[in-house]
């Protein structure tokens, strides 16, 4: 983490730091993690801080919560460059990049209005198979329709 961002948000003792989030997407990251602020964790975010690698980036810090791979991997949909740092007693004890899972369950809505997953009262959760990571292509398990990266982003970024 750069010095500038250090100055803006202090170090956390225990918890998770999500670094290298594409600039402007920190709020979408929180939303995707279902973190509303009502959980009681101290959450700090900085947006648009200078980054050597990306020009600008966002950082999200969640104190007192160690996010598991299963929870954070879906971030690969909107923040494929993100790194996850697990902090214990001010030290980084684990650092990994987000990795897109083979399946995306829930989260996204199928684009096909005629897909069974779009019918409100039917007990079915959207389920997509990742066909390709780069470029991102996912396929609805129910209707077979494909979705590309920009269509995914459009749904997840507000």
């Amino acid at each position: 983490m750069s010095e500038i961002s250090e100055m803006k948000v202090s170090k956390i003792r225990d918890g998770t730091v999500i670094d290298h989030v594409p600039a402007g997407r920190a709020l979408d990251v929180l939303r995707l993690l279902n973190l509303t602020g009502k959980e009681g964790f101290i959450i700090s975010l900085v947006m648009n801080v200078p980054s050597k690698k990306f020009g600008k980036k966002d950082i999200v810090k969640v104190e007192g919560l160690e996010l598991e791979a299963k929870q954070v991997n879906k971030l690969a949909l909107i923040a494929p460059t993100a790194t996850i740092n697990i902090i214990r007693n001010y030290e980084v004890v684990d650092k990994k990049r987000v990795k897109l899972p083979d399946r995306i369950i829930g989260i996204l809505q199928c684009q096909n209005p005629n897909c069974i997953t779009r019918k409100e009262r039917e007990p079915v959760i959207p389920n997509f198979i990742v066909i390709s990571m780069k470029p991102l292509i996912i396929q609805c398990e129910y209707c077979g329709r494909l979705m590309n990266e920009s269509e995914v982003i459009k749904q997840l970024i507000r």
Binding site: T117, E122, P123, C140, Y142, G144, R145
Partner: protein, 309 residues
């Protein structure tokens, strides 16, 4: 092999291997040889048909097949059932699952059959889900080619019409790919060429696709021509529909350029895409194709319900 078929759902033809389909075809052969009189192996079984979209051939041929095998048939009439009161599809299917040993269904929604298979304990046969799959029609179509041509691989096969929204054409192309057909000619106006997801699936089988907008350009190459209807409602502009309509009509003039051995197939119903004077020519295979519906669906019901002898 029988074990593979027992209690199996039939959602997409892609769920099946070539040898499983060959096994179904060999049982169909036996049923035809015995003139469809094979006793009552499904005596005591109940088959439900639930068609949430109009159907003539698929529903009636399944019901005929069930009756011929000694099963009883119950039929859901969506317009007069509790669906009309607003019951969900899932609840309706759960109820039918309590009554029947097997459910044949059709829905205007893509993925409905898959959802039904997830929530029902008894096997589901997809009689068409929206624009996606029509697996049993494809089984009949592939069987027809095998019967009339003695092979599938190595033939030059054209698929004409609505390849974008037509589920029968899509499932047919998938079926050909399972049987290792190397090349398929896609004959359709640009706006009705197959969707990306269909092309992706065909590509996975290494099926080589050739595109043609005009049937006249390719008719002389073909051993099999599979015709589907181009629906007017698919075109936002009626003038565009009028323009393409005539281009895809199969008539004697077109067939004068075809190979002597060409067969013309159609899942039916047809409207005007094949002119009536083709019916009595050696090319017409569509009525023969339709005649295989009952014996093949008999074989399918027997395999899934474990009544094969």
């Amino acid at each position: 092999m029988m074990k593979n078929w027992l209690n199996r759902d039939v959602i997409s033809i892609l769920d099946f291997e070539k040898d499983e389909l060959e096994y179904l075809f060999s049982l169909t052969d036996k049923i035809i040889e015995r003139n469809m009189s094979i006793g009552k192996p499904l005596d005591g079984k109940i088959i439900a048909t639930a068609f949430f979209e109009p159907s003539t051939r698929t529903r009636l041929s399944f019901e005929t097949a069930a009756h011929k095998l000694g099963a009883s048939v119950i039929t859901l009439e969506p317009s007069i059932s509790s669906l009309a009161k607003g019951e969900s599809f899932a609840d309706t299917m759960r109820m039918l699952d309590n009554y029947a040993d097997l459910i044949v269904m059709r829905s205007p929604l893509e993925g409905a059959a898959k959802l039904a298979a997830e929530i029902c304990e008894h096997p589901i046969i997809n009689g068409g889900d929206g624009t996606q799959h029509h697996p049993t029609q494809a089984m009949i179509d592939i069987y027809t080619i095998k019967k009339l041509k003695n092979r599938i691989n190595g033939l030059s096969i054209g698929v004409l019409g609505d390849l974008r929204y037509g589920r029968a054409a899509t499932s047919f192309m998938y079926g050909l790919s399972i049987f290792g057909v190397k090349e398929i000619w896609l004959i359709a106006p640009k706006e009705l060429m197959p969707r990306d997801d269909v092309l992706l699936t065909l590509k996975r089988f290494n099926t080589e696709l050739h595109y043609a907008e005009n049937i006249n350009d390719v008719i002389s190459n073909l051993d099999v021509l599979y015709v589907t209807r181009i629906q007017k409602e698919r075109f936002p502009d009626p003038i565009e529909y009028e323009r393409v309509k005539g281009t895809y009509q199969i008539n004697l003039q077109l067939l004068s350029k075809a190979k002597e051995s060409l067969i013309v197939m159609h899942p039916l119903p047809r409207v005007d895409e094949i002119s009536y004077d083709v019916d009595t020519t050696k090319y017409a295979a569509y009525f023969k194709e339709a005649s295989y519906a009952v014996p093949l669906r008999m074989a399918l019901l027997m395999l899934i319900l474990g009544a094969e002898r």
